[in-house]
Amino acid sequence: MYTDPAVIQFIDDHFVPVRVHVHDQADEFKRLGAKYNAQWTPTVLVIDSQGEERHRIEGFLPAAAFLAQLALGLGHSAFARSDFAEAERWFRQVVERYPDTDAAPEALYWAGVARYKATGDAASLHETAQQFQQRYQSTSWATKASVWN
Protein backbone atom coordinates (compact mmCIF):
# COMPACT_ATOMS: atom_id res chain seq x y z
CA MET A 1 0.00 0.00 0.00
CA TYR A 2 2.97 2.34 0.56
CA THR A 3 3.94 2.16 -3.12
CA ASP A 4 0.63 3.60 -4.30
CA PRO A 5 1.15 7.20 -5.51
CA ALA A 6 -2.09 8.40 -3.91
CA VAL A 7 -1.08 6.91 -0.55
CA ILE A 8 2.38 8.47 -0.77
CA GLN A 9 0.89 11.87 -1.60
CA PHE A 10 -1.72 11.71 1.17
CA ILE A 11 0.88 10.81 3.77
CA ASP A 12 3.17 13.56 2.50
CA ASP A 13 0.35 16.09 2.72
CA HIS A 14 -0.89 15.24 6.21
CA PHE A 15 1.60 13.25 8.25
CA VAL A 16 5.08 12.94 9.61
CA PRO A 17 5.64 9.21 8.97
CA VAL A 18 7.51 7.05 11.48
CA ARG A 19 8.38 3.43 10.83
CA VAL A 20 9.25 1.06 13.66
CA HIS A 21 10.55 -2.35 12.62
CA VAL A 22 9.86 -5.35 14.81
CA HIS A 23 13.31 -6.88 14.25
CA ASP A 24 15.63 -4.12 12.99
CA GLN A 25 14.54 -1.78 15.81
CA ALA A 26 13.67 -4.37 18.43
CA ASP A 27 14.20 -2.08 21.44
CA GLU A 28 12.16 0.75 19.92
CA PHE A 29 9.45 -1.69 18.88
CA LYS A 30 9.31 -2.99 22.44
CA ARG A 31 9.18 0.52 23.94
CA LEU A 32 6.60 2.02 21.59
CA GLY A 33 4.71 -1.22 21.23
CA ALA A 34 4.17 -1.23 24.98
CA LYS A 35 3.24 2.46 25.02
CA TYR A 36 0.63 2.09 22.29
CA ASN A 37 -0.27 -1.57 22.84
CA ALA A 38 0.88 -2.62 19.38
CA GLN A 39 1.43 -6.37 19.42
CA TRP A 40 0.99 -7.23 15.77
CA THR A 41 2.27 -6.05 12.41
CA PRO A 42 1.25 -4.21 10.46
CA THR A 43 -0.27 -1.87 13.01
CA VAL A 44 -0.64 1.71 11.84
CA LEU A 45 -1.52 4.51 14.25
CA VAL A 46 -2.77 8.01 13.56
CA ILE A 47 -1.33 10.08 16.39
CA ASP A 48 -1.98 13.75 17.00
CA SER A 49 0.87 16.15 17.65
CA GLN A 50 0.41 15.70 21.41
CA GLY A 51 1.13 11.99 21.07
CA GLU A 52 -2.47 10.84 21.53
CA GLU A 53 -3.61 7.91 19.41
CA ARG A 54 -6.67 8.91 17.39
CA HIS A 55 -7.06 5.94 15.06
CA ARG A 56 -5.68 2.43 14.60
CA ILE A 57 -5.40 0.24 11.51
CA GLU A 58 -4.41 -3.39 12.06
CA GLY A 59 -3.61 -5.70 9.17
CA PHE A 60 -2.95 -5.08 5.49
CA LEU A 61 -5.40 -3.03 3.44
CA PRO A 62 -5.43 -2.19 -0.27
CA ALA A 63 -4.74 1.43 -1.16
CA ALA A 64 -8.31 2.78 -1.31
CA ALA A 65 -9.29 1.17 1.99
CA PHE A 66 -6.08 2.41 3.59
CA LEU A 67 -6.63 5.96 2.35
CA ALA A 68 -10.18 5.83 3.68
CA GLN A 69 -8.89 4.76 7.09
CA LEU A 70 -6.32 7.56 7.15
CA ALA A 71 -8.99 10.14 6.34
CA LEU A 72 -11.28 8.58 8.93
CA GLY A 73 -8.48 8.92 11.46
CA LEU A 74 -8.03 12.60 10.68
CA GLY A 75 -11.78 13.01 11.14
CA HIS A 76 -11.66 11.32 14.53
CA SER A 77 -8.74 13.51 15.52
CA ALA A 78 -10.61 16.69 14.58
CA PHE A 79 -13.66 15.38 16.46
CA ALA A 80 -11.55 14.73 19.55
CA ARG A 81 -10.39 18.35 19.62
CA SER A 82 -14.01 19.49 19.14
CA ASP A 83 -13.38 20.85 15.64
CA PHE A 84 -16.65 19.38 14.42
CA ALA A 85 -16.79 21.20 11.08
CA GLU A 86 -13.34 19.88 10.17
CA ALA A 87 -14.31 16.42 11.41
CA GLU A 88 -17.41 16.42 9.23
CA ARG A 89 -15.37 17.41 6.18
CA TRP A 90 -13.09 14.42 6.66
CA PHE A 91 -15.96 12.03 7.31
CA ARG A 92 -17.87 13.22 4.22
CA GLN A 93 -14.71 12.87 2.16
CA VAL A 94 -14.45 9.21 3.15
CA VAL A 95 -18.04 8.53 2.10
CA GLU A 96 -17.71 10.42 -1.17
CA ARG A 97 -14.27 9.22 -2.30
CA TYR A 98 -14.22 5.70 -0.88
CA PRO A 99 -17.89 4.64 -0.76
CA ASP A 100 -17.13 0.94 -1.13
CA THR A 101 -14.75 0.63 1.81
CA ASP A 102 -15.49 -0.55 5.34
CA ALA A 103 -14.63 2.93 6.56
CA ALA A 104 -17.50 4.52 4.62
CA PRO A 105 -20.47 3.51 6.82
CA GLU A 106 -18.50 4.42 9.94
CA ALA A 107 -17.70 7.80 8.38
CA LEU A 108 -21.34 8.36 7.40
CA TYR A 109 -22.38 7.75 11.00
CA TRP A 110 -19.79 10.12 12.43
CA ALA A 111 -20.50 12.77 9.78
CA GLY A 112 -24.03 12.95 11.13
CA VAL A 113 -22.79 13.15 14.70
CA ALA A 114 -20.23 15.82 13.83
CA ARG A 115 -22.87 17.97 12.14
CA TYR A 116 -25.15 17.59 15.14
CA LYS A 117 -22.32 18.57 17.49
CA ALA A 118 -21.53 21.60 15.31
CA THR A 119 -25.11 22.81 14.90
CA GLY A 120 -27.14 21.33 17.75
CA ASP A 121 -29.74 20.41 15.15
CA ALA A 122 -31.00 16.87 15.67
CA ALA A 123 -32.28 16.84 12.09
CA SER A 124 -28.77 15.87 11.01
CA LEU A 125 -29.08 12.64 12.97
CA HIS A 126 -32.47 11.89 11.43
CA GLU A 127 -31.11 12.59 7.94
CA THR A 128 -28.20 10.26 8.61
CA ALA A 129 -30.56 7.50 9.69
CA GLN A 130 -32.54 8.05 6.49
CA GLN A 131 -29.35 7.72 4.44
CA PHE A 132 -28.61 4.41 6.13
CA GLN A 133 -31.93 3.14 4.80
CA GLN A 134 -30.56 3.70 1.28
CA ARG A 135 -27.03 2.33 1.74
CA TYR A 136 -24.96 0.22 4.11
CA GLN A 137 -28.16 -1.26 5.55
CA SER A 138 -26.48 -4.44 6.74
CA THR A 139 -23.72 -2.73 8.72
CA SER A 140 -23.56 -2.23 12.46
CA TRP A 141 -23.41 1.52 11.80
CA ALA A 142 -26.87 1.40 10.23
CA THR A 143 -28.11 -0.39 13.33
CA LYS A 144 -26.56 2.26 15.56
CA ALA A 145 -28.10 5.06 13.52
CA SER A 146 -31.53 3.41 13.45
CA VAL A 147 -32.46 4.96 16.81
CA TRP A 148 -32.31 8.38 15.12
CA ASN A 149 -35.27 7.59 12.86
Partner: protein, 37 residues
Amino acid sequence: MAVERKEIGWTHNLEDALEEARSRLRHVLVDFTAAPM
Protein backbone atom coordinates in the same frame (compact mmCIF):
# COMPACT_ATOMS: atom_id res chain seq x y z
CA MET B 1 12.49 11.87 -19.73
CA ALA B 2 12.59 9.74 -16.59
CA VAL B 3 9.82 10.32 -14.06
CA GLU B 4 11.03 10.60 -10.50
CA ARG B 5 9.30 8.05 -8.31
CA LYS B 6 8.25 9.58 -5.04
CA GLU B 7 8.66 7.57 -1.86
CA ILE B 8 7.54 8.01 1.71
CA GLY B 9 10.13 9.83 3.79
CA TRP B 10 10.07 7.55 6.80
CA THR B 11 11.72 8.68 9.98
CA HIS B 12 12.45 6.41 12.94
CA ASN B 13 12.19 8.56 16.03
CA LEU B 14 8.72 9.26 17.40
CA GLU B 15 9.73 12.12 19.68
CA ASP B 16 11.40 14.01 16.81
CA ALA B 17 8.38 13.30 14.62
CA LEU B 18 6.00 14.72 17.24
CA GLU B 19 8.07 17.89 17.43
CA GLU B 20 7.99 18.21 13.65
CA ALA B 21 4.24 17.52 13.63
CA ARG B 22 3.66 20.33 16.12
CA SER B 23 5.69 22.79 14.07
CA ARG B 24 4.12 21.80 10.73
CA LEU B 25 0.54 21.24 12.00
CA ARG B 26 0.62 17.60 10.97
CA HIS B 27 -0.30 14.30 12.51
CA VAL B 28 2.16 11.47 13.03
CA LEU B 29 1.66 8.17 11.26
CA VAL B 30 3.36 5.31 13.08
CA ASP B 31 3.82 2.09 11.15
CA PHE B 32 4.77 -0.92 13.24
CA THR B 33 6.09 -3.28 10.59
CA ALA B 34 7.90 -6.52 9.89
CA ALA B 35 8.34 -5.69 6.20
CA PRO B 36 11.86 -5.51 4.74
CA MET B 37 13.35 -2.05 5.16
